[in-house]
Point group: D2
Chain length 249, copies 4
């Protein structure tokens, strides 16, 4: 079976699944579950197009990761095939522990466990199923891999996660103010002592990225209708938990 | 309360809700139900962005209707405010009877009733609730209103329904081949003896529309994975119906 | 002859020429001259797509003016047909006095005359040719028309000139960082005591506009190669003037 | 001096100059001359945005060539670095012999010499200047290089030249009907016995490409105003030639 699929993505054009292992990870129920988790929770009540899922976002972030690593290689930095794959797996799975709805909600459902911790646990489970082949990806995700830039591409102030979600959220909401020059930012990435840096010429693109991010917070993520809807769901769940607890007694 | 809302639509930019009655119709549970019905059913298994709903599509078609009627007015054709509103309501509600998943499915669930018939029944129910103010819209929808172009804008070979769904499906799937010049087609609309016609200069845009539509059928609507998923759901429902019938005996 | 032409504009889609007088103005050699004046002067040496002209920009600004005035009318502000046309003419001709290349250059060629003054003189000449029908447009341009918002739409911190050139320069250079939500800004325009204001909800779009403008200055308008090329042309012209003066003696 | 420049292209995003030799070719006056030759000749009288040059188009075609060859390599076909560079040079220079204005015009100016022949002569001249390093590129251009797919990517029914000019002409004119899925077509390229073929799944994209091309002929390349303007220039030149010949006698 041909597992080198190409997926149509209205945001990035085409996303290539780079190899069989990543194909199998994507097919795994733990990852397919993300098809039913919306990236923007209840924001669809304000922005009817905002139905895109964490599944789609994770594929997009993996795509940007491959562009970023290609750029670094072309600038002469050595990145092994194993590192390439591990970094792509790390970002593909970085959100695999996310529950439904919003960050706010997870505090209700699982009081003392953050989604990052869940992602980590799921990744470890998958690592067993995949015969230990995700170990380097987990090291990168946990920031214990010696080459720190790989973790920084997964999770930092300017990681591939943020580049993808800004572009994607802007695309599906139709909020133009979130448009960023992700291609340019990626082309400007470089390394200094194995830490991620940006070439001087990229500074305006980075500033634009920071402004765009803030505008998206104001116009989308913290939109009053979005937050109200979220609070209503939280109160409903609290009430349900209370009634269940009462019923049990 | 201000009901002249503007809705962000990544496809058309902004959609203006033209008046209070239409705002109230959009808020009605019958219409809000369409938020949970995807335009492309199970096509998301091939195109992960294809999660857009009939709710969103109906708003988009209403928007194109207002552009089309504005164009006709600017060309000197008289269209009353009442006709304007009725045509917008007719297209807003043209799919209100749609059930979940695909056209194919509705033959299983409701053997002898097509969704057009359901749309009509729901519109008549809404008309009662809204004090008879939807009568002209229903006449347009049923093609009994004397000025036939209004019905043709709702349902014909080149209606606002098709223009919106092609643009929208192309946008959310990322299938570029479905891109059409809807703006240009609308600008080329005209009337001859109250029937909808296209100015000669628009012929290439129309040809492009026809080709794009066919390509979307091949690449999206009739994609083998899409059809297979649909058949699986149909078989599941058939089996469920069979088991229920058996259990009842 | 049909003068109600529609012009394809890759930035705004379609630009409608609203009436015969404006069609005749566009056809006038004074305006057609702008076809040979590039909006971004020598920036094409950095951005090969940046060949767009002041002709195209003036049409685009006129288009945005008509959108802005339509929005204000829909919000209940009275704007007469005469004012509508005059404002469109004022912005169409606001740059008609521009010479080739850049602002910097005009100080060499015409030491004590700014292009605004030239635009005014040309408009007055056209007004004579057009039988005085541009008087209101000139009043708006000169800011002596009593309803000040009309001038503010032509020339202020947030005028249709700037909205169009940012969008257009961003489009033709490919510098994504200049993308602004012009549609949204226009939809948020309002009047208070006949002065132009922005609805509170539009504040993020305005902030994005201000940031985008600054980024365009840094990345495009003040790009070192652009400025160097300009300085070279200025020095060449100075030298030519010097040699001519010497030859005359 | 760093010659690995990146050029902003509003059509493709960023175009990377792959190496120093290609940088030097681009800087050569023979290539820079193309900055003053418009891709669409006089079509700007119909489409004011259509000012893009053969310079820009040649860079774009080179970019698509690199994408196409990368795709073929990823599918397991061996393409040497030398072939990669030669194919990029061949398409970069394929139009270097083009004169101003249109194909029609060249028959007036140079009755018996076609621009392909001029391109070839200029390439041979450049080859001498560049110490014979363009020989393989010239072989590919002349279709004498044994691996025929390289020539087919430069010049055939589905070459990178056409993909770029359709996309570019559609972008700068604003004629949506010319939009093609070039990314998808390139992703579907393959080889069979060293000839260029398309994977079966790409057939719809190819059909769309063919339709789009035809629509561009009708709406742009053969637009009556475009052809009329061209005929006027041809008659002017004929008359000028006649008067010159008379004056000489």
């Amino acid at each position: 079976m041909n597992k080198k699929k190409i997926i149509n993505d209205p945001v990035h054009g085409f996303i290539k699944i780079p190899n069989e292992r990543i194909y199998d990870l994507i097919q795994h129920p733990h990852f397919q579950r993300l098809r039913r988790i919306r990236q923007l929770g209840l924001a669809e009540y304000v922005y009817p197009g905002a139905l895109h899922t964490r599944f789609h976002h994770a594929l997009g972030a993996m795509h940007l990761m491959s562009l970023a690593l290609d750029t670094l290689r072309q600038k002469g930095f050595e990145i092994s095939e194993a590192e390439m794959e591990a970094a792509q797996i790390a970002i593909l799975l970085h959100d695999v522990g996310h529950g439904p709805l919003s960050h706010a909600l997870e505090f209700i459902l699982l009081k003392d466990i953050r989604h990052e911790r869940l992602s980590q646990l799921i990744m470890q489970g998958l690592n067993q199923e995949f015969g230990g082949s995700l170990s380097m990806a987990i090291d990168i995700f946990m920031d214990v891999y010696p080459r720190r830039f790989l973790h920084q591409l997964v999770s930092s102030q300017l990681d591939m996660d943020r580049l993808d979600y800004l572009l994607r959220d802007s695309f599906f909401t139709g909020v133009m103010e979130g448009t960023i020059g992700a291609d340019r930012i990626i082309k400007m990435l470089s390394l200094y002592q194995d830490e991620l840096v940006i070439e001087e010429k990229g500074i305006y693109s980075v500033e634009n990225f920071l402004t765009a991010r803030r505008l998206m917070y104001w116009q989308v993520y913290l939109h009053k209708t979005n937050l109200s809807a979220e609070q209503m769901v939280i109160q409903i769940l609290r009430r349900a938990a209370h009634l269940c607890a009462k019923a049990k007694r």
